[in-house]
Symmetry: C2
Subunit: 572 residues, 2 copies
């Protein structure tokens, strides 16, 4: 279990601080992450990698010449915010675009995706690179649904080396996608990890048993088997991965035998002898394999094997020099110190001029945000309880924090004379940035999408509300990759939006359409209590609860109902 911390909610930020102090030759600390401290030439594609904390050396330990240009560090096992990803992407940009690399988890998909949209809106060619190597989390026919585990290292190494040698964006992305398609991982768990300040591990494995098909965020395995010897374990891991080899493969592979935290070096070395024997017996030539802790899960006990099925393009990139705090290959790459970026907070966004009519609408939106924030203070505990069946139990906390931040930003924007579009957009970004995690990212997208259909010149019309809610749904589904029926907030959002927009388009008054929409959302949220277990975080936005509603859908319906009470006043 995690034993060394001060305030648990400061754990990840303090760890980032300590890391940056220890490796000043490699990184400089910036808000929310770390940037190379060595100067990087202009006209190079930048690789920014990241995800939740608790996986060191992933991701901070891989920043440096030949690998990543920067890393974004979220809270423990929680995605960094959209704003943090965008900020660090902007800082790392050297004129040829930014690749945003992450493991394929709901929160990361949302936040890195939304950050890429923000950067593109600023004229930066930003692309997302979701690593999907965990064979336990989906079939080979649905590789895009697989989680990212230790294969991150293979894919990022390839992308980083391609960027370092000067490849253009399309080529870096082609090679990275190629590496991702040819990288597969499979792992086992012996015991779960314990979050800082928590009293119990996220899961346990019965004595004498092994969880098979582990995740790296405390998800239990997809199956359980009896404990076995090192040679049997090697066979289990290797035999699960070899069928993933692509046709026409030259039988040269890189490999990572990854320890998750408490499974130690000597154990990995023992296991490696059998892994190597078995791979060699299959006629495979190993290229610079690694055994050690590369993607951990706090102090979880367990390990995973990753194979990268190389070819003539990938092999030199895997072998190329790099110089990072954790991984170093070949001769040191010449470097001199980069300019110091500093840790100034992001400047407040400029408030564009707005018409009086739009400012009056902004005041209505502000009132609705105030109601929302008040509701989420009252409901924090209840939402946490609902979420605890399915996940970390932090949904109530995140919603409270996000709505409070949105309200604060909206109040500042209103004071600065913002119109409706700017006020809601500002609130959206603040929600996403301060709430963190998946729900923060979704609410940021939802409100940002909605705000994009409003205007700073005109009052908010019912038609704008209808167009906004449709845009919001579209954005959440596109970036969040969730569909109705996935037992997520989308299950409530879609009927809400359809009913609201449909009602408006049918000529019903906004307050009435909203009330009906809130009722539809409530019915849909209640229907999200899933009756069959689902796999960890494998499917974006999916919930693990059985027989309990999805907390995200519940909170959306709850907010919709509260605002339905206010709307007859606000619309006046």
């Amino acid at each position: 279990m995690t034993r060394i911390f001060d305030a648990p909610d400061q754990f990840a930020a303090t760890a980032l601080d300590g890391f940056c102090r220890l490796y000043p030759d490699h990184v400089q600390r910036v808000n929310g992450g770390a940037l190379r401290s060595a100067e990087t030439r202009q006209q190079k594609v930048a690789l920014v990698i990241g995800g939740g904390s608790g996986h060191y050396p992933a991701f901070l330990g891989f920043v440096g010449p030949g690998l990543a240009d920067a890393s974004v560090a979220g809270d423990v096992f929680a995605s960094p915010s959209t704003q943090a990803v965008a900020r660090i992407g902007r800082l790392a940009h050297r004129g040829m675009g930014v690749v945003l690399g992450f493991g394929n988890y709901a929160g990361d998909v949302l936040n890195f995706g939304a950050a890429a949209e923000r950067l593109r809106a600023e004229g930066i060619d930003a692309r997302i690179l979701a690593v999907t190597d965990d064979v336990a989390s989906a079939d080979a026919s649905e590789q895009e649904k697989r989680r990212g585990v230790a294969g991150d290292v293979v894919v990022f190494k390839v992308a980083g080396a391609a960027a370092e040698r000067g490849d253009a964006m399309d080529e870096v992305m082609r090679l990275a996608a190629h590496a991702n398609r040819r990288t597969a991982s499979f792992g086992v768990a012996f015991s779960g990890c314990t979050l800082p300040g928590a009293r119990e591990p996220l899961f346990t494995v019965p004595k004498g048993r092994i969880g098979v098909g582990l995740g790296i965020h405390g998800e239990p395995g997809v199956d359980e088997v009896d404990a076995m010897s090192a040679s049997e374990l090697a066979a289990l891991l290797v035999d699960k991965l070899l069928p993933e080899a692509p046709a026409g493969w030259n039988r040269r592979a890189c490999a990572i035998l990854n320890g998750l935290g408490s499974t130690k070096y000597e154990e990995l070395f023992v296991l490696w002898t059998h892994v190597e024997d078995r791979l060699k017996a299959a006629g495979i030539t190993l290229v610079r394999p690694e055994a050690g802790e590369l993607v951990t899960s706090l102090d979880m006990a367990g390990c995973s094997l990753t194979l990268g099925f190389l070819d003539d393009e990938l092999e030199p990139l895997w072998l190329a020099p790099c110089d990072t705090p954790f991984l170093r290959r070949g001769a040191a790459l010449a470097s001199r110190a980069a300019a110091v970026v500093g840790n100034d907070p992001d400047p407040a966004p400029a408030v564009p001029p707005a018409s009086d009519a739009s400012r009056r609408s902004a005041a209505c939106i502000l009132a609705l945000l105030r109601d929302t924030a008040a509701l989420l203070v009252e409901s924090e505990e209840e939402l946490g309880r609902i979420d605890a069946f399915a996940g970390d139990g932090d949904h109530g906390q995140g919603m409270r924090r996000g709505s409070a931040a949105a309200l604060e930003a909206a109040e500042a924007a209103a004071s600065a004379g913002a119109g409706a579009r700017t006020l809601l957009g500002t609130a959206a970004d603040a929600w996403a940035d301060r709430a963190g995690g998946t729900s923060g990212a979704i609410w940021g997208l939802l409100l940002r999408g909605w705000s994009d259909k409003l205007s700073d010149d005109e009052a908010v019309s019912d038609a704008m509300v209808a167009a906004g809610v449709r845009e919001a749904v579209d954005r959440v589904m596109r970036l969040g990759r969730a569909r109705p029926g996935d037992k997520t907030l989308v299950d409530a959002l879609v009927p809400f939006a359809d009913t609201l927009a449909g009602g408006i388009e049918a000529g019903r008054p906004l307050a009435e359409a909203w009330k009906q929409a809130a009722e539809a959302a409530t019915r849909a949220a209640e229907a999200t209590a899933p009756m069959t277990p689902r796999l960890g975080r494998a499917r974006p936005l999916a919930s693990r609860s059985v027989g309990h509603p999805d907390a995200g859908a519940v909170s959306l319906a709850m907010i919709a109902r509260r605002l339905a009470e206010r709307l007859p006043d606000a619309a006046r």
Copy 2:
């Protein structure tokens, strides 16, 4: 706990194998350890480091240009054998002598010390370097009694860098001793580790408590306190070490914040922020600090802080380039592949010619060795039970294995026509090499010392027996650094030797003198049941048992009694 293994007794050897397969650019495997795979120039002092396995990256992970020339790996938490240390020292030797570096534990002191004697006898200038950095294990006034923990890395780094730049033996040893005097460590334990195949951890720490002053072999702390925050823990560690600073120190320090296995990177980074703040507040400038796993104890949870109080001599050596599997500094050091040494077993020693009289004496010694081996098969379980009160419970196993190996070697020597001196010396080396651990080393020294007073030309006289037992005592006490009263085998050996030699010198028949000596040894062994607790393995050869006799003293007395029964026949 350790989960990945096949046969537990093969764990360390298989781990060594896996390590060497993974790092062919750094090391080549030799029997019992690893040698640099990069060519090393002639006329360089060689640094050979080692100790028990289970501490990776100590010691194998520190082999390479700029650091160690080779590493010897014993069983889990057990010293490598004298023969293995000598073998690898011989292979690493490049004409300027060999430094044998290890942490200050009983078994290592014995085996590395005995190996140094063997190498010196072959004309190699071999020196021993025992690291003594753990402030919890003895007062500053008795620094030579302290254990070696993560400070190993500081001392070996200094010695390795001095050797690499071409310093001569005396200068390398002077700098290493200087670094050792200025290096201090202190640690805490949160939970114990579990040996491969064991069902229970070596110790436990109650919930909400912390063991203070940990060891790295499953020794519990010397004290216990309530769990505390990261900043309080930093204060505890720093404040314990600062009083160790030497007078006139320039306030520049290197530091290692070391995780023991399950205490993970992010926790160490969090702790580091406070350690650094506190050291800086004390006006200390940090020079290239390290935080991570440098000297582990399987999956034990806990951490230690090491400070190296630098000066103008030590600082450049700490910072000098090195290129090892675990630690890499500065530009890569140019290297080409060394010749492959191969893994052939050590050749059987040549048997010098012997007189018939000496061969008849050899036959008597062989009969005594056969009795000893038979006795130790019968007594394995009993000795294990006695040892379990104080230590690992492996004393019976080690004695059985050692005496069996000694008998086998003696039989081969007898077949080859060996005289008494060669036969007993051969048996001694086989015992030390195959038993492993502390008792193996002691029995190797004891019998080797005894054999050195015998002859291959003459029959064994009573005078030779007396001189031999005195030489045996002398060698065990000198290399083992134990004194009577330390509650070790020496407590039984000294009265045995005094009674035996005294009786012979007083003209009593050998069988009678031996019988009285066996009785004296038995009384002394019974008196070794210590009444006060003693500190872990801090004092060489010390026992942790309270109210139980020392297993080493008991087994010595047991053997003496059994041979007393045989001697009237053998002497005929």
